[in-house]
């Protein structure tokens, strides 16, 4: 199983994502510059956090038109797993691969903390190794994580089990329904604000993120047999 981590100008969690794949899964992972147009050789794509294009105009708005995003959309269409973390989530929203949009945090502050989350759906390629309703801890680090969708979309997300993670305890940014992460209708594109790649060893304060990457690998193995 081979992973791609597209790197936009201003991405800054790309190396963390690559390290998570290598250290948790011991699988090959390539950092791919955003001008790359062909991702066919990869089985999964991780859009990393950071401040692509300086967050100019809106978060993710400019990265969404980078050449690499066409192949990300193609991969999503083919059912490959796409994981967007923090700015990567914002890019997926702007690209229309996930519903909704991101606003500045309701308190206007950048929030950096280890955040408790509740796993709302453990039936997904990304979450199969978690328990339903399990409380886990991932770091958050964002100023614009205030997820918004209109009431009809929210209803749809709720009914279809597409709210994957919710903030547990205090909502750190004002997102609707405490949403921390959502998945597309096909279940293969996940976006979340918290950083699983920064929670892969106990010394990081939490190792709960490791199971997200392991879930992806387990899913891939289930479809493709041996690694």
């Amino acid at each position: 199983m081979r992973f791609a981590v597209p790197v936009f100008p201003g991405s800054n969690c790309d190396v963390d994502c690559a390290k998570a794949v290598r250290e948790v899964l011991d699988r090959p992972v390539d950092l791919v510059w955003h001008t790359e147009r062909n991702l066919e050789n990869f089985d999964a794509i991780i859009l990393p956090g950071g401040f692509s294009y300086g967050d100019y105009l809106r978060t993710g708005a400019l990265a969404r038109f980078s050449p690499v995003m066409e192949s990300v959309a193609e991969a999503a269409e083919k059912g490959k797993m796409i994981l967007g973390i923090c700015n990567g989530f914002q890019v997926l929203l702007e690209a229309g691969l996930l519903p909704g949009a991101m606003r500045v945090n309701d308190h206007l502050q950048f929030r950096c903390a280890i955040q408790p989350l509740r796993v709302e759906n453990n039936q997904l390629p990304f979450t199969r190794l978690y328990e339903e309703g399990e409380e886990i801890h991932f770091p958050i680090a964002h100023g614009e994580g205030n997820y918004y969708c209109d009431p009809e979309t929210l209803k749809e997300l709720e009914e279809q089990g597409r709210i994957v993670f919710r903030y547990s305890g205090e909502n750190p940014n004002g997102s609707v329904a405490g949403i921390a992460g959502v998945v597309n209708a096909q279940g293969n594109v996940l976006g979340l604000m918290p950083h699983p790649e920064r929670a892969t060893h106990d010394w990081m304060g939490s190792a709960d993120g490791a199971r997200l990457f392991q879930s992806m690998f387990r899913t891939w193995e289930g479809i493709n047999g041996a690694a």
């Binding site: 105009l57 606003r103 918004y148």
Partner: protein
């Protein structure tokens, strides 16, 4: 040549955290008559074209595709000739 002035702001149905905070500051300065503040952005574009109708169509497309996010934002624009 046309100058285009585009205003993008959050839809009225979407809470504006910046506007709410600025309203609080205005109140603490004594401007208690301020009922609501909405913060948006203004963009100025200069277009090298002579066709106003076509210019309007293209600016509208620019707003829809990139300059505004239709999920949370509204936009409006006006064209000024020869600016």
């Amino acid at each position: 040549m046309y100058k285009v002035i585009i205003t993008v702001r959050l839809k009225s149905s979407v809470l504006d955290p910046q506007g709410t905070t600025v309203k609080g500051s205005l109140h603490s300065l004594g401007y208690t008559e301020v009922e609501e503040v909405r913060i948006g952005k203004t963009m100025e574009l200069w277009l090298n074209t002579t066709d106003q109708v076509e210019a309007g169509k293209r600016v509208d497309a620019m707003c829809r595709r990139l300059l505004a996010n239709p999920v949370i934002e509204d936009y409006e624009y006006r064209l000024e000739e020869g600016a």
